[in-house]
Symmetry: C2
């Protein structure tokens, strides 16, 4: 088996130590004679897993006590529906900052709910979403404002969270949760699919201010934050194995030094690649310098058949998942927490080699 | 580590061979250098996993081609909401056969949907749900009829599926899917949480007739069978690892001889326990003989402190998960496909010993 560098946007690379621990105790969790996949979600073995996972996530993100933490299913896409159902009940209007594909999907899903209207209060359209909008139109008659912190496809990310007077923010943090520091109290709610920086796919983390939960209407159980909070995420059988893995990732991240340390490492990894791109005569980043994501880094040669040639060569050499999203083409390097800096250095080597071979050829 | 027999109602015991295979290839799936948790849901590695899982499930259950197979999240509880949203659009009335706790939960959730009314067309209430209702009142103005095939808590199960003239059945098969033979074409839709006979928690299998999917309204994506079918369950990131495990369980079950063979084994396991219960002077089954589940077998001593004593003794001796559901008390032995007949024989030995010691003491 050759060495692999996995640049996938998600499901993505996980910490090797976590995978090894999962493997070691897969047949008998804590000497129970049962796999963690076989233990009851009502057992003390599982309660302890969930409690520790929550405690460590609170510690990592410095989550204030007035926020609830939920471990749910259905990915960010189900949150596109749940947030409006739970929170858009006064004005039935939601402000959206449109920063690309995933915020547009959130808008589409909000508009599918009877009586709810999604209002675009800002858009990166004019820049082809290579820039984040600088001004957000505020309006009195909004229930809340939705923001996508990191745009996985377009490669932009917020470093500072925009201030929305009197309106709380609902933040999609799927692709950079735990990868850089945000202030939880800047949000009414944060949600994130697990399959990037948290663990395996099939788990969604929701962090929500308790007063907002209390005000939500009487919804079907699996769509109601209030009911899920009241049952501590075990209203029905939760995704036990995924929560267990997430807990191990949180422990790993604490051992690594926490978010501030990993953010520094993530910035170093990203800077290596951006410096190369900005000095290359073949490859370039399409994203405005000040809005660049440190997590998902799209790049192009400017020639789609040359892009394809590069991706094929890279894949053959063990650089997996570099193909850009079908909506934007080109390449994309996703450098999540578990992605090693060596992988970036090795990538730069093959980019350099490719550049020498192909610049001026097309 | 002592030998453990895991009688949990779910998450439940999984086939040892499946767990061993998961463990073996956990760090590098098919020599890819990546864990199955790290592979993209858009990769050919995953497409093959999903295609094989669907193909094998179709083969095992003999699913006709006019049915779609979905791999979803959210458990049976989310299906309590999704089925009405998708199918209760003409009369906005659903007939429910009330066979206990889980059908009552389905009724509650249906009634939470605006404009939808759940009609109880039959009930096992008068027997304390120890019997299945014998007659179901039919009515013209129902969109469909909901039935719970196996009642995990009460320990009843349908052997024959009731015929509903002109109305299609939506069947909750969570606790006995793949454990006994049903005819898929008797249903408009079947759903099942994975954590009993399919694999780890966090996956829901839905089998649905395509013409019903086509007729459903324009719903939020993650609640719409039509949109999920159109995207082949990968509308967003599916629970990759859980689908992989389910696929391995399906392969294991085919190697074991399929549903008819495993049903025979399940009947043998259940019969051993029922024979003991029916001849015991201490333990007994509260369930009507002809409606007894072969999957979940509740039993009692008739004295709750004696029940507690038995459970404590059993747990100490490695018989895990025998505590009955809090709603009915007593004991419950869940004998899913992966549960070995030896475990039943060993259970009978300690029951016998306990009976000798305690009969007549209280």
């Amino acid at each position: 088996m050759a060495k692999i560098y996995n640049f996938s946007a998600g499901p993505a690379v996980m910490p090797k130590k976590v995978l090894e621990k999962v493997q070691t105790e897969l047949l008998s969790y804590k000497n129970s004679g049962m796999s963690v996949m076989e233990i009851s979600h009502r057992s003390s073995l599982f309660s302890e897993i969930q409690e520790n996972a929550e405690k460590n996530l609170r510690r990592l993100m410095d989550i204030p006590s007035e926020y609830d933490v939920l471990f749910l299913q259905g990915g960010a896409t189900l949150q596109f529906t749940m947030a409006p159902l739970n929170f858009a009940n006064n004005f039935k209007r939601i402000g959206f900052i449109n920063t690309g594909h995933w915020s547009q999907r959130a808008i589409e899903e909000a508009n599918l709910i009877n009586g709810v209207e999604a209002i675009e209060i800002a858009s990166g359209f004019s820049s082809g979403y290579t820039k984040l909008p600088e001004e957000n139109r505020t309006s009195e008659d909004l229930d809340y404002v939705h923001i996508t912190l990191n745009n996985t496809i377009e490669g932009t990310a917020y470093k500072e969270v925009p201030y929305m007077k009197d309106k709380f923010l609902v933040g999609d943090m799927s692709s950079n949760i735990l990868g850089q520091r945000y202030n939880v109290s800047d949000f009414g709610m944060i949600y994130a699919g697990a399959q990037k920086n948290i663990g395996p796919a099939g788990l969604t983390v929701v962090i929500v201010r308790h007063d907002l939960v209390e005000k939500s209407p009487n919804l079907p159980a699996m769509l109601s934050y209030k009911k899920l909070v009241n049952k501590n995420s075990t209203l029905n059988t939760p995704p036990v194995f995924a929560i267990y893995c997430a807990g191990l990732v949180f422990e790993w991240l604490i051992a690594e030094g926490g978010i501030d340390v990993i953010e520094k490492k993530n910035r170093e990894k990203a800077q290596l690649l951006y410096d190369f791109l900005d000095n290359s005569s073949l490859f370039s980043s399409p994203v405005s310098v000040k809005n660049r994501s440190i997590t998902n880094i799209p790049f192009v040669t400017g020639n789609s058949s040359l892009d394809a040639k590069f991706i094929a060569m890279a894949t053959e050499n063990g650089f997996v998942g570099l193909k850009g999203h079908r909506l934007v083409g080109g390449m994309r390097a996703s450098l999540y927490n578990a992605f090693p800096i060596e992988g970036v250095k090795e990538l730069l080597k093959i980019m350099q080699k490719f550049e020498l071979e192909y610049k001026g050829v097309y």
